[in-house]
Amino acid sequence: MIKQIPVLILITVLLLLVAVSSEASTIIRVPEQYKSISKAVEAAEPGAIIIVASGSYSDNIKITKPVFLRSSRGAAKTIITAADPDTATIHIQGTHDVTLLAFTIKGSTLAGVLIEKTKNLKVMLNHVTDNENGLLMLNTENCNIFGNRFDSNNSYGLYLNKSSSCRVRANSVSLNGDKGLFLFSSDNNTILNNKINMNKWNGMLIWSSNNNVIKHNRTLRNMFGFVTGESSNNDVSDNTSLPDLFLILPILLVYLGFIFYLIQMYAFKMIYGR
């Protein structure tokens, strides 16, 4: 029995730790507990998880504490439109460890998502559309922008200003009124596997930005695909401005047309005889 006491103490301590950690990440549900997302964010303790049910919300959300904000049914079914169009629909400022997951964000004449002076940020699987700018990021460090769609915004799709150590991966940045992806004075970022197509001006503009890794991106049918200036030590490789499909498909179809003609000839000969 005496030998088992340390084991029992260890188990008790572990259970206490689990209890404390589950207490730390309280779950808040919108609209069951709070009618609006902004009210839920205001009431949340740091580290809280806010789960938003599907539906359309008219709101401006300001996040100044570490929270995990996610939708329950995905971006297509959870739409946040700016209640006051003159401010950002979602404004994350002066905080750390924020996650924004799976929303449609629209209707701001400033930005769909505005991020300032924030560290350890995750923005994933969102659809940011019909704003002046999609995502504006200022003085931000160590962020992960993954699997989002930034399209049909009036100016920039995705704008990083003085932001560093961010990973921008597998996003679709298309049909924006000015530039698709704009890096300005931003160093040590990784831009990987993004589709940046059909933006009115530059697909991707890298300006005064150094030591970035820019690989496996596709820029297609922009005014200028990839533009860089006043930048150094960037690892730019394996980016595509014209995908193979554009060259191969028409040629393949013309060949198919020729084969189809031969097939038709044989078929008509078989039906009608010589």
Binding site: L220, F246, L249, P250, L253, L256, G257, Q264
Partner: protein
């Protein structure tokens, strides 16, 4: 997802038919005798015109009114009508119809290029 690719699929069928129609048309002009080529040419030609009109409805009406795009569609249709008119005039057919056939194939390739789903 399928609706994103529908215009591209219709356009691809259009290119195949326009190419087949062009080759049979060239054979028809070269041999000057009525044979299977005439039937293939007409069949493919009229189906591709039908596809052109279908694509106009699917693509243009789906994406909303735009005067420049409407003018482009109408000019494409004008090329098809002019080609039909020239074919009926045997005197002009041998001289100009090959150019119109090439123009129609180029037009279909352009349609594919503009309808590739990229987002």
């Amino acid at each position: 997802m399928f609706s994103d690719f529908l215009p591209l699929i219709i356009g691809s069928i259009g290119v195949v038919l326009a190419t087949s129609s062009f080759i049979s048309g060239m054979q028809l002009v070269r041999t000057r005798k009525r044979s299977f080529e005439g039937r293939i040419h007409r069949l493919n030609g009229y189906i591709s015109i039908g596809l052109f009109i279908l694509l106009f409805f699917v693509s243009y009406i789906g994406s909303g009114f735009n005067m420049i795009v409407l003018l482009l569609w109408l000019s494409g249709f004008a090329v098809i009508l002019m080609k039909l008119r020239i074919v009926k005039q045997r005197r002009w057919a041998f001289k100009y119809v090959c150019w119109f056939g090439v123009a129609i194939i180029c037009m279909w390739i352009y349609i594919i290029y503009t309808h590739m789903p990229l987002t």
